[in-house]
């Protein structure tokens, strides 16, 4: 659906995107994560021609974005909806007019039915005549989503769509996007600095840091076996024990964590302490990790056990989390 090959972009003599490669397949939810200033928005805006670039190639729905201009570029943009962190709605206009706006620009037929249908979809049918400035953040983003869908786009670009919302509202917006992705078969590109959003929604992802790719691939695999650079960005907030060896265990969907840990303790006849752990939702699955601390004397036995049982594990040391990674 969208290909980016060896993309470079400079603002003046500052390189904000360095050799970016990515591939968004049809129907998937693709995430772009990174700290603020990493170049995520710039990358997203290159995809629908809002931003130009100096090197590389961006192909959206089969056409080279840089080759378009004028009406042909505007046509492409109309087939790619976009939503924003600050919603970017016309505050004085009502919900209906905001959603109808792109359709009016393009002279689309049956505006009334289409808008009502979209408001039904995002759950705002009753608020059509209400002014946007009186809505809550979550409702505003729903209006934004309805507006972005107004022209029946094939791709939805989301720039920090949930960053201005509280956690509960974020979840409800993510559920809505998930719904839209499934039911309308819409390809979604999610740009965000929120790791939870990516884990919850994105099938594959690209991790950016200061314009450079840190990691890219299928979400599940990336989080189960993060690279060194990635671990630095995705740090757990646990204080590790000074003595012994801290080991981070990752549990994919098919391993029951409870039994494996107790079984290990029993069969090796060792003691260990639990430093921390968490269950996380990745897409539809629940994944967990557990950080344990074992005496240095038992380290090899434990690692051997983990190796034999095909677990994802990682030895953590205090200076730098994530020293080695093996399955």
């Amino acid at each position: 659906m969208i290909h980016v090959e060896h993309l470079h972009k400079w603002y003046g003599n500052r390189e904000v995107l360095h050799d970016i490669n990515l591939h968004v397949s049809e129907g998937e939810i693709f995430g772009v994560v990174g700290h603020s200033g990493a170049g995520k928005s710039t990358l997203l805006r290159c995809m629908n021609g809002l931003e130009s670039y100096q090197q590389g190639k961006v192909t959206a729905m089969g056409v080279d974005v840089a080759s378009l201009s004028g009406t042909s570029l505007r046509k492409l943009q109309s087939s790619m909806g976009m939503i924003f962190q600050n919603f970017n709605l016309m505050a004085r206009k009502n919900v209906f007019e905001n959603v109808a706006f792109p359709m009016r620009l393009w002279g689309a037929p049956n505006i009334k039915e289409r808008v009502n249908e979209l408001l039904e979809l995002v759950g705002l049918a009753k608020r059509a005549m209400q002014r946007v400035q009186n809505l809550s953040g979550g409702q505003k983003q729903r209006v934004g989503i309805a507006r972005a869908l107004a022209l029946n786009p094939r791709v939805l670009l989301c720039d920090e769509a949930t960053s201005a919302l509280d956690p509960k509202t974020t979840m409800s917006i993510l559920d809505l996007l998930d719904d839209i992705n499934r039911n309308l078969k819409l390809t979604i590109v999610m740009v965000t600095h929120q790791m939870e959003v990516v884990k919850r929604l994105c099938h594959s992802l690209l991790m950016l840091d200061r314009g450079k790719t840190v990691a890219s691939g299928v979400t599940e695999e990336l989080f189960l076996s993060p690279t060194k650079e990635m671990s630095k960005m995705v740090t757990d907030e646990y204080t590790l024990l000074k003595s012994g060896t801290n080991i981070r265990l990752m549990f994919p969907r098919d391993i029951s964590q409870q039994s494996i840990i107790t079984h290990m303790a029993r069969s090796l006849d060792i003691d260990f302490s639990i430093v921390g752990g968490k269950l996380e939702r990745y897409l539809d699955d629940v994944f967990g990790f557990l950080i344990i601390n074992v005496p240095d004397a038992h380290k090899d036995a434990v690692l051997g056990y983990l190796e034999n049982h095909h677990l994802y594990w990682q030895v953590l040391d205090n200076e730098e989390a994530g020293s080695c990674m093996r399955r």
């Binding site: 809002l50 109309s78 790619m80 600050n86 709605l89 706006f101 792109p102 620009l105 507006r147 107004a150």
Partner: protein, 232 residues
């Protein structure tokens, strides 16, 4: 005339008679002022608006950046704004004569008033445009709006309430300028006040002129505020 002033109880009467006597002239002057202010507001809004759109389009961060053009426009606007009105009034007499055919009368005053106010309007409206949420423009862009559509469907409608408020600023400024234009033959309330109050010491007539000017200011501000509330 002098004996009436001695009878204090009767001094109001000649004032009243003089008011009635001068009423047609006062009304005439009011009409001239309204005429000058209304037309020069309309014309300066028109030209200022075009200038403002041109500036917002060519602005380095604008819809189609063209820094060279923007710098020229910016310079011209600043230059015209720094001209004292009274000097502009005299300096452009040849232009006035060319456009209106004469350099005397309220029709002739409209030319310098417009020339003086248009760059002021341009600056005010440019500010209104700059205050429009850039995100909304970005959103319009993202679903393929053309620059023309962005100007007419986003910028102007979004900036309209604050533009309306600025119409009051412009009209009230022009009301003040029109008093000056009066002194070079433009007529109007300013001219009336100076002629009677300053030249002939008939302070009462000057007071009437000032009261009417005050009422006009309040009226203009009130109407624009009302419009703003409706539009906002």
């Amino acid at each position: 005339m002098h004996e009436t002033i001695i009878h204090l109880g009767a001094w109001a009467e000649p004032l009243w008679t003089r008011f009635l006597e001068k009423l047609p002239e006062i009304l005439q002057a009011t009409w001239e002022t309204l005429d000058m202010v209304f037309l020069s507001t309309v014309f300066s809004m028109f030209f200022g608006f075009i200038l403002a759109i041109w500036m917002i389009v060519t602005n380095p961060l604008g819809l189609r950046p063209c820094p060279a053009v923007y710098r020229v426009l910016d310079f011209v606007v600043n230059l015209l704004r720094s001209f004292p009105f009274i000097i502009l009034l005299i300096a452009i007499i040849p232009i006035t004569r060319f456009i209106v055919g004469t350099s005397i009368g309220s029709a002739a005053a409209i030319v310098p008033l417009t020339v003086a106010a248009a760059p002021f309007v341009a600056r005010l409206i440019e500010t209104c445009f700059l205050e429009v949420d850039r995100g909304v423009i970005e959103a319009a862009r993202s679903f393929g709006a053309s620059n023309t559509q962005i100007i007419f469907r986003v910028l102007i409608p979004e900036a309209l309430p604050s533009i309306v408020l600025n119409v009051a600023v412009v009209a009230i400024t022009l009301l003040g300028y029109s008093a000056m234009a009066g002194t070079v033959g433009g007529g109007g309330l300013g001219d009336l006040a100076v002629r009677y109050g300053y030249n002939r010491f008939q302070v009462d007539i000057m007071v009437y002129a000032v009261i009417i000017l005050c009422i006009l200011v309040l009226l203009i501000q009130g109407v624009c505020n009302l419009l703003y509330k409706v539009l906002r």
